[in-house]
């Protein structure tokens, strides 16, 4: 385990991810037949789109890293590759330890069954055993503040309640690495504060955190380090405060007028 500490709990070496954009591919047979020559040609000349381009990054155990950048710059792709949900086109990824990915709260929740049943299934999907899930259930329910609603079908939940339960399950899956993708923007301010307080607690316990966010204030607050991605390339890597500043001044230069941060 100590060699992991030296190398970093997450190591990306020259990672690139290419998606092929299928330009104007015919959607039905008639169009396909009528445009057969161009169809065959266009399929061969699929346009490559590099979502990540030669990214190297090493994250040490216990570090909390903010990933910032404009929409479509590859932030989510980066998280999905670290979470092993997508394979890099080239390069290597090494992750030591158990990962919990909060890419979407309550993925797999079913509206027709109760919050309790969904919480158990979701926890097992995220990597707990049924026994562990059952043990942590009281904690999860308490955190979600759902009270008696926990035994109601989830279709009766408000979207806020849905998010609360999703977050409560995800953070109670004990992991070495927590990946958070812009999921905290939802929910009311009070619950957001609670989530951040919980993430802070996990950080104090030595959990490595990778946070993708457009909320630059929270990146500065919660991350020791930040990276700026643009067009799939890693532009700057450093302490969160200067990186955020540089990002803001780039935006300012681009728009040509000062942005209040």
């Amino acid at each position: 385990m100590h060699s992991d500490d030296a190398l970093g709990v997450i190591t990306l070496e020259h990672v690139s991810k290419c998606y092929y954009l299928r330009a104007q591919r015919p959607q039905d047979l008639k169009t396909a037949v009528l445009h057969l020559p161009s169809f065959l040609r266009s399929d061969r000349s699929r346009r490559p789109f590099w979502a990540l381009d030669d990214v190297s990054l090493s994250i040490r155990r216990g570090e909390s890293l903010g990933v910032i950048g404009p929409n479509g710059s590859g932030k989510s792709t980066l998280l999905r590759i670290v979470a092993d949900l997508a394979r890099p086109t080239s390069g290597t990824v090494r992750v030591a330890g158990r990962i919990s990915a909060l890419l979407e709260l309550g993925a797999g929740f079913h509206p027709q069954i109760t919050g309790r049943e969904n919480a158990i299934l979701n926890a097992v999907l995220l990597g707990l055993s049924r026994k562990e899930a059952a043990e942590r259930l009281p904690e999860i329910i308490a955190f979600s503040e759902l009270g008696d609603f926990i035994d109601q079908p989830m279709r009766t939940y408000s979207s806020g309640m849905y998010i609360r339960l999703g977050f409560a399950v995800a953070v109670h899956v004990k992991a070495d690495v927590l990946l958070v993708d812009e999921v905290l923007a939802v929910g009311d301010t009070e619950f957001q504060q609670k989530c951040y307080a919980h993430i802070e607690k996990l950080r104090a316990e030595g959990v490595t955190i990778v946070l993708v966010s457009h909320d630059l204030g929270s990146v500065v607050r919660f991350c020791d380090r930040a990276v700026l991605l643009q067009h799939g390339r890693l532009q700057i890597d450093g302490e969160s405060q200067p990186v955020v500043h540089e990002y803001l001044s780039r935006i300012t230069r681009l728009i040509g007028q000062p942005v209040s941060s």
């Binding site: 998606y19 999905r80 979470a83 092993d84 949900l85 997508a86 394979r87 990962i99 990915a101 890419l103 979407e104 993925a107 797999g108 079913h110 027709q112 069954i113 049943e117 158990i120 299934l121 097992v124 999907l125 995220l126 990597g127 055993s129 049924r130």
Partner: protein
């Protein structure tokens, strides 16, 4: 080192098993939720389908069989329904769960497998109906059922697991398969000795046996109606089909699985 590897493998197996159990339990629960009759539908639906076939074949087409017509149809129809419904339901099992596949890391094959398990439960619930019809015709089920049912159910289960791996993986890239499959399964329904015994085919029996389901359905019927245990000699086309389905299914699934998250 070996102990560590074994522990990890065991941990993975346990997780997959628990996930399969929870997903199957959820599907079972959801299937007849908000219906008045609930699980009774599992029994009524195949029975009504059997009744329709009985009326058409017995009173409209007036076919002649050496055993009572209801005993030709029901003991074959119910295991067939397990196969057909599983295949149709499992085809979009991966393709329809894109959101889950893209956001959560878990063994993907539990999705198609859980539909097979779900339909197996429904099939097992219909066995008492077969038993009632067998008893009503004056036959006595004996110990062979206790051996034959688990053996044939296991063969059909493994065959189905291979089949659903294949079709659920292909369906991600080729969703026409769902529609194609419905037509093919309808065709297979008539090519499999379900509404007629295999013997009616005379010298074409050997051709019909190329279909792996043919020998399996015939074995189910012989078990329920004649208390005959299947032998490997009777079942070999199905066993070969089963082995092929598992090999091809897991190979194709393993190959295509990597691209699921990107394709959905």
């Amino acid at each position: 080192m070996i102990g560590e590897v074994a522990a990890i493998a065991l941990e993975r197996f346990r997780r997959t098993w628990e996930l399969l159990y929870l997903l199957t339990a959820r599907e079972l629960k959801l299937r007849y939720q908000d219906t008045v009759l609930g699980f009774v539908w599992s029994v009524i639906k195949p029975l009504l389908l059997g009744l329709v076939l009985y009326l058409i074949l017995g009173h409209v087409a007036k076919i002649q069989t050496d055993i009572p017509l209801q005993l030709v149809i029901l003991p074959a129809l119910f295991p067939w329904s397990w196969f057909q419904t599983s295949a149709i339901m499992a085809a979009p099992a991966i393709a329809n769960n894109g959101n889950l596949i893209k956001k959560v890391h878990f063994p993907r094959y539990v999705l198609p497998f859980s539909t097979v398990a779900n339909n197996m439960v429904h099939f097992l619930l219909t066995i008492p109906i077969i038993m009632i019809f067998v008893l009503a015709s004056g036959r006595q089920p004996n110990y062979t059922w206790l051996i034959g049912i688990p053996v044939l159910a296991l063969v059909e289960l493994v065959l189905l697991l291979g089949v659903v791996l294949f079709i659920s993986a292909i369906d991600v890239y080729f969703r026409d398969l769902e529609h194609l499959l419905e037509v093919l399964l309808n065709l297979a329904f008539y090519m499999t000795p379900i509404i007629y015994p295999l013997s009616t085919l005379g010298r074409y029996q050997n051709v019909a046996l190329l279909n792996p389901m043919a020998s399996l359905i015939e074995a189910w019927r012989n078990l329920f109606v004649r208390n005959e245990l299947p032998t490997p000699m009777d079942l070999w086309p199905c066993l070969v089909g089963m082995a092929a389905a598992v090999l091809i299914g897991s190979f194709v699934f393993g190959r295509l699985e990597r691209g699921f998250a990107d394709a959905l």
